[in-house]
């Protein structure tokens, strides 16, 4: 696409690429990322990545999801040639990260977890330096710089030193510098961590635009909502191993069905009885029944089909149902199912050993 500034165009393309996502994985082009048995063990013996196999197709918006310390950043650093793998094969844009690191570097954009800009340079100078570092032809540098400043809405402050920018502006500038050479693949390592919702939404919008232009995006995040909003495909990493892989919808299906939320009248006693009834309900196999503030919540494979039967059973037991809703599980539910606990964003991934073991069994 020649004119990146046309948002309408970009959105159209975005729609097409979303719909065409499945087709584009067919091997007309090599995959952007091919990881085979990647292991990375630090000097102190910590196995940060322990047997990861992964393929990311050209043009995909891919999300790497996991709590702090799960191995996301280590994996992305291997892909960006900042760390050499201990074992395994890693190819990025068709180039081996060990044998041809410079070819890899030429063909990727990388946005580190910590915002990386030169605070003493202006927004424009930061982008210009990146243009020069990536060998953007001299004749194209002016246009490219102007275009990127516009794309990340920093044209008005182009001549201001970046040290005075808000963290959201710095992040956007950082993202722009990762794209000067129009790389076919961009790595974004927790790009929105620490940003307010407004700044986050703007970055999301921006990442969607890049992906709509055909750029493969590899994003790591701890935010389930972010992954759900942006990514076509996700892998969940825990303790150095991938424990789930698929589209957000597929992952949600792995939760074991849909979620039926029921609201009840008559307070706590009624809820306790309803939990009891739902727990013994024959039509649900392995259902998870929880009491909620206003009623109960049932997660079951047959929640959709047999939901009404449960409602009837509750009425027959003399309970008054005041509302109900069948919904697909959120990624929050996915994480709960995989890790056995609600994800605590800011704390480390403690207490998930049992589940992680399942994901890493093929390493040995």
């Amino acid at each position: 696409m020649s004119n990146d500034r046309s948002v309408a165009d970009a959105e159209t393309q975005r729609e097409q690429s979303r719909q065409g996502a499945v087709d584009r994985t067919t091997p007309t082009t090599a995959p952007s990322i091919e990881i085979d048995g990647l292991e990375l063990t630090y000097g102190d013996g910590t196995a940060a990545v322990d047997g990861v196999d992964l393929t990311v197709a050209d043009g995909e918006f891919f999300g790497f999801l996991g709590p702090n310390g799960a191995g996301k950043t280590t994996a992305i650093k291997v892909l960006a040639t900042l760390l050499s793998p201990t074992a395994g094969e890693v190819r990025v844009n068709g180039f081996d990260v060990r044998a041809e690191p410079r070819k890899v570097r030429e063909s990727i954009g990388y946005m580190a977890q910590e915002t990386s800009i030169d605070p003493e340079l202006t927004a424009e100078e930061n982008i210009r330096f990146a243009c020069e570092a990536y060998g953007v032809p001299r004749s194209k540098r002016d246009d490219r710089t102007a275009e990127l400043l516009d794309l990340v809405d920093l044209t008005a402050v182009a001549d201001k030193r970046s040290e005075g920018f808000s963290s959201g502006m710095k992040k956007r500038l950082d993202a722009a510098t990762a794209l000067v050479h129009r790389p076919p693949l961009v790595f974004l390592d927790e790009p929105t961590t620490g940003l307010d919702p407004n700044a986050r939404n703007r970055l999301w919008e921006y990442f969607r635009r890049i992906n709509a232009r055909g750029t493969t995006v590899f994003l790591t995040t701890q935010y389930l909502e972010e992954a759900d909003q942006l990514c076509e495909r996700l892998a969940v990493i825990l303790d150095g191993g991938i424990v789930a892989d698929g589209s957000p919808d597929e992952l949600k299906r792995q939760v074991g069905g849909d979620v039926l939320d029921i609201e009840l009248q008559d307070g706590e006693d009624a809820r306790a009885r309803a939990v009891e009834i739902a727990g013994k309900f024959d039509a649900f196999e392995d259902a998870i029944v929880e009491g909620t503030e206003t009623g109960i919540s049932v997660t079951a494979k047959t929640a959709r089909e047999s939901g009404t039967d449960l409602l009837v059973a509750l009425r027959d037991a003399g309970l008054t149902v005041t509302g109900f809703n069948v919904r697909a599980p959120t990624l929050d539910d996915v994480f709960l199912a995989i890790t056995g606990e609600r994800v605590d964003i800011e704390s480390t991934a403690g207490g998930v050993e049992t589940e992680a073991a399942a994901g890493t069994e093929e390493t040995s």
Binding site: T29, R105, D118, F129, H181, P183
Partner: protein, 291 residues
């Protein structure tokens, strides 16, 4: 490969910088940063300049006698002092090299550069060249101010260029040293303190401010192993066009060259030794090997 698809984002339109091109890109960035940062440009010049003015005004009359005792009569203290201040400028400016590196590590630019396809040697060469360029300019300014204050460069413009050259050769070991501190501590304050703490002992325990003959024995002994002595002596030999070195007796050449040649040789050797350590540590810090 992905290069085969020719949609806008799949070209990799890299003009593939040459080594010199990568050097130039980094040279420009560090010069721009130096201009932006008043600390780097002014402070590293202000302190030596204050030394130059205060020392000549306060000690000028007293020290004149000591200078005559060491180097013979007729040498003005300002003329004696200016070469030492030139070396002080090189010392003070070399510290900022390590500080720049620490800042780059802290604000993420170090990693950003490592992820780019630039040649890594060229990256450090470009940065060091910018620092050396700044040192040359600052010594030129000090020499100009010195002449305004009454100092006399016996060897003229060629001599002034020679003193700048000595200052550059001298700066290498300290640039390397401050970078070594930077990589080891990865902390701005430690680097500044570590490098600055050394500056005054190095300057005072050398031939910088007075001839060694009038200084206590232990200082004379330390001055022998102090790089500042060799830098100052070489610069001063050019300034006065005389063999002023007392720590090494060389007579193989003629006149001032008996000081300049051995002193520059010692400084070059130091530069290689310290440079070797810094290059080793820098390449380890930028390597992708897991530690």
């Amino acid at each position: 490969m992905s290069g085969e698809t020719q949609s806008a984002d799949h070209e990799i339109p890299r003009s593939s910088n040459t080594f010199a091109g990568d050097v130039w890109v980094n040279f420009k960035r560090w010069n721009l940063k130096a201009v932006r940062n008043p600390f780097v440009l002014v402070v590293s010049l202000a302190q030596p300049f204050i030394f130059l003015v205060l020392f000549t005004e306060v000690f000028g009359n007293v020290a004149g006698g000591a200078v005559s005792e060491g180097l013979g009569p007729g040498i003005d203290y300002t003329t004696f002092l200016v070469p030492a201040i030139a070396i002080q400028v090189a010392l003070a400016s070399a510290v900022t090299s390590g500080i720049g590196l620490v800042n780059d590590i802290e604000n993420g630019m170090f990693e950003k550069v490592l992820v780019s396809p630039m040649n890594r040697t060229a990256v450090f060469v470009g940065k060091t060249l910018a620092e050396v360029f700044r040192i040359a300019l600052q010594i030129a300014i000090i020499l100009g101010l010195g002449v305004l204050l009454g100092a006399e460069i016996t060897t003229g413009v060629v001599g002034a260029l020679g003193i700048i050259g000595v200052g550059i050769v001298f700066s290498f070991w300290f640039i390397a040293f401050s970078n070594t501190l930077a990589v080891l501590t990865r902390d701005q304050e430690s680097t500044i303190i570590g490098a600055n703490l050394l500056q005054f002992p190095l300057l005072f325990l050398s031939s910088a401010f007075l001839p060694l003959e009038v200084l206590p024995n232990w200082i004379q002994l330390f001055a022998r192993i102090n790089p500042v002595t060799y830098g100052v002596d070489a610069a001063r030999a050019i300034m006065l066009d005389e063999d002023v070195m007392t720590v090494l007796e060389v007579t193989a050449f003629d006149g001032a060259l008996d000081t300049i040649v051995p002193a520059v040789a010692v400084l070059a050797g130091l530069g290689v030794a310290f440079g070797g350590v810094a290059v080793y540590l820098l390449s380890r810090a930028s390597s992708s090997d897991v530690r």
